[in-house]
Symmetry: C2
Subunit: 514 residues, 2 copies
Amino acid sequence: MSVSVTGAEALLRTLAAHGVDTCFMNPGTSEMQFVSALDRVPGVRGVLCLDEGVAAGAADGYFRIAGRPAATLLHLGPGLANALSNLHNARKARSGIVNIVGEHATWHLGYDAPLTADIEAIARPFSSFVATARTAGDVAPLAAQAIAAARAGEVATLIIPADASWDSCPPAIPALPGTGTIAAPAARSIPTPTPRTGFLLSGSALAEPVLQMAARLHYATRAPIFANRYSPRLPRGRGIFPVQRLAYFPEPAEAMLASLDVLYTVETHAPVTFFGYPGRPSTLAPPRCRVEPLSLPAFLDVASGYLPAPTETVEPPPPPPTSDEPLTPELIGDILAALLPPGVILSDEMISSGEAVNARLARAANHDLLPVTGGSIGQGLPVALGAAIAAPERPVLALEADGSAMYTLPALWSFARENANITTVIFANRRYRILDVEIERTRSASPGPLARRMLDLSSPNLDFVQLALGHGLPASRAHTAAGFAEQLATALQTPGPRLIEAILGDPATFMPQK
Amino acid sequence: MSVSVTGAEALLRTLAAHGVDTCFMNPGTSEMQFVSALDRVPGVRGVLCLDEGVAAGAADGYFRIAGRPAATLLHLGPGLANALSNLHNARKARSGIVNIVGEHATWHLGYDAPLTADIEAIARPFSSFVATARTAGDVAPLAAQAIAAARAGEVATLIIPADASWDSCPPAIPALPGTGTIAAPAARSIPTPTPRTGFLLSGSALAEPVLQMAARLHYATRAPIFANRYSPRLPRGRGIFPVQRLAYFPEPAEAMLASLDVLYTVETHAPVTFFGYPGRPSTLAPPRCRVEPLSLPAFLDVASGYLPAPTETVEPPPPPPTSDEPLTPELIGDILAALLPPGVILSDEMISSGEAVNARLARAANHDLLPVTGGSIGQGLPVALGAAIAAPERPVLALEADGSAMYTLPALWSFARENANITTVIFANRRYRILDVEIERTRSASPGPLARRMLDLSSPNLDFVQLALGHGLPASRAHTAAGFAEQLATALQTPGPRLIEAILGDPATFMPQK
């Protein structure tokens, strides 16, 4: 056998052989070899995205649900640039991505053609692994390295010049390099937990089986169990042990931790405020509280010393309100809690509406919450897309603030094209509402009319029903609790994508807790 | 006087004092001090953009028309990341921008809060000047440096930590640093031009007075005058000497240069292909042709040796077609040529429709063409916004491919909010049409169904009328020449923004020249 393949074919073969079977892409000329190879190399599904932020966010959502990486395919430096803010979120989520970026042919690079840029320098702040193929023969071995890194939760950027993709190379598919054996952490005993002993969990320490163990610990010792607010995935609902998510604003977060003498952090670090504010510390635990890392095995070891927790019966929520009251985040939370079927995936980019809704969802049927991990808005819709592709059997809800939705709105088109079972709820308060709070917190002077206009999304109002229809999605608008409940019930009973614009009433009623 | 100001106020005062009176912004918490200061420090107009790509592209368009920089205001590393691809275009256009990026408070940076990123590293590949203020006292002096760099056509990134913006500093407004005296280039004589002597102009060498001089040279010697296709601004129309824009694809571009013995490049470098293709050189001039740089003064010196060119009378175009023929780029070009009033600004992101339309616009009334300079699509609508803000008295047309429009579509909302006099024409062929050509050119195998689906923007069709209405813009759809001509005439007679979705007919008739 001396059959050879192109570099592009070698890439697809290596991806497919190692289970990277989905590629969220927005390709251009330098990536045409890969696109063309989709028909010749089976095993990789291309999902077209209309911009690269959608592709990167979808790959993040895919990893959070599938537990294994998808690939992206991006066009040169500027295409990569458009993906960076969602790669930032993916990195903070520790979502592995095989981030493939086309490059000019090697011999074309010296000519400073318009699209020429320093792709490695652009990738580095957002990637743990960056490599550029020099020849077609490099592609498969580098792809194997990138896949191994991505499986370990890294954003791995693989840059492939056009000639490396169209030239020929041997067809062998390399094995994945070992990622090294991880030494078992030394067994560690900690003093018997008390109600003044906190545990802050994140990452895989928030998987459902770990939460069952956390419940044992909690019920036996009354030690409080907290969740890192920015963990990539949080199982939640009335059948799941309810960890306390640390609040967004520093004062309520501090209050949650105020009585602790020690806080053990499992797969996360000491809790800090999201922003720095004048005259406030960045840390959230009280000064006398020791903060100590604890490995997940050590945590499980501690928890396994206690008996299984009693089954707590959480009352299901009451039927959804059906009044003509103007919508508020609280009402929407009540309606969601009542209507969500078990097994739903929630992509949460509700921003100022989030506290009220999430407080109510603890009583909903079991579900997975996917928060914004890196604070960069514009991930909610793309993450929903990736989650829906990863788990087509599970309904997905994208709970999305109106301002945040506008960064990556063309995700809606991919929802429609892929017939993804995603219900999008737009929380339309027609402001960057969170900034109303933040402008006070940063002790900026009281905002005048020019400042207020920079936080205002009315004049003109965005019409999300028309925006959704324009992207090919069915859509409706709700002003009242009854209307929203009816539209949500319809959406949940109807497979495929759908959008509901929820017009929020008096903003005074849904200011986030300060 | 010992009055002090905040760092944010110092920034606005310095901007305003040096004529940077417009700021395209998408701020967040770390930028609230600047937003709040807008009401206290007069002289800087904030233009809210719904994503950072719009802000950066608008600042580019502003510079191209105003000839002086605007500022941007972006939120931390991820906000900057969203702006990068249009900063790439701005950089290639040599459009100066005072690119202001907020940062966490200095003492908050060490805690790795979710939004923390290496902002300087993110900015560097796209900026000539990068500086971070350490204190409030740094802000005004660094702002002066950034303004000086931006006035010289550089993307100057100024990073301001939140504490540097809320702390106090002296109110003095620093002068701009000198940018050094530029030595006059040595006088240079070149052999008398012949029809085999080409001149390739770009940048300020394409200003209208220079074109008048170029006309003298051309009419006296028959030396051909070419324009760099990616020059930031090209004056054009039947009253302006018609330089030849080098074609996009290499074969016609090569043909334009085939007979040359020497090519002088003025404010640009040797012409190269946009992409590298298998088996093709990257350079476009024939091998025997010498390519030599020539300064603009030297060029003017050569040209001034010839008499003023005769006034050539170019026939105005015929009245617009009013048939029921399906729309093609050719028909749209004919209609635009007939209906455009003098002084229009055209933002050109037509991609595969561009050749046909631009060929016809040489007979239109005088106008300025603003092309995509860095090849990164998603600039057309933002550049139109910036141009309209810079020159409110001039009508602006955004000529926009459907695929390209989707990268920065929320620009439409800023059109509506600012009541910008912009008519947007969407060329809806419902494909990444240019890639149909490029996939063949890169000798990818003939695309199968999976590959073709990655180039296809139908299923579902984007409905640009609904998308525009959703952003608050009046909009209509045209299928025929008569319909388009009527809708365009209405748009041109009506101040304010408006969008026309031009549905293109049989694609076989508008494939770009290969």
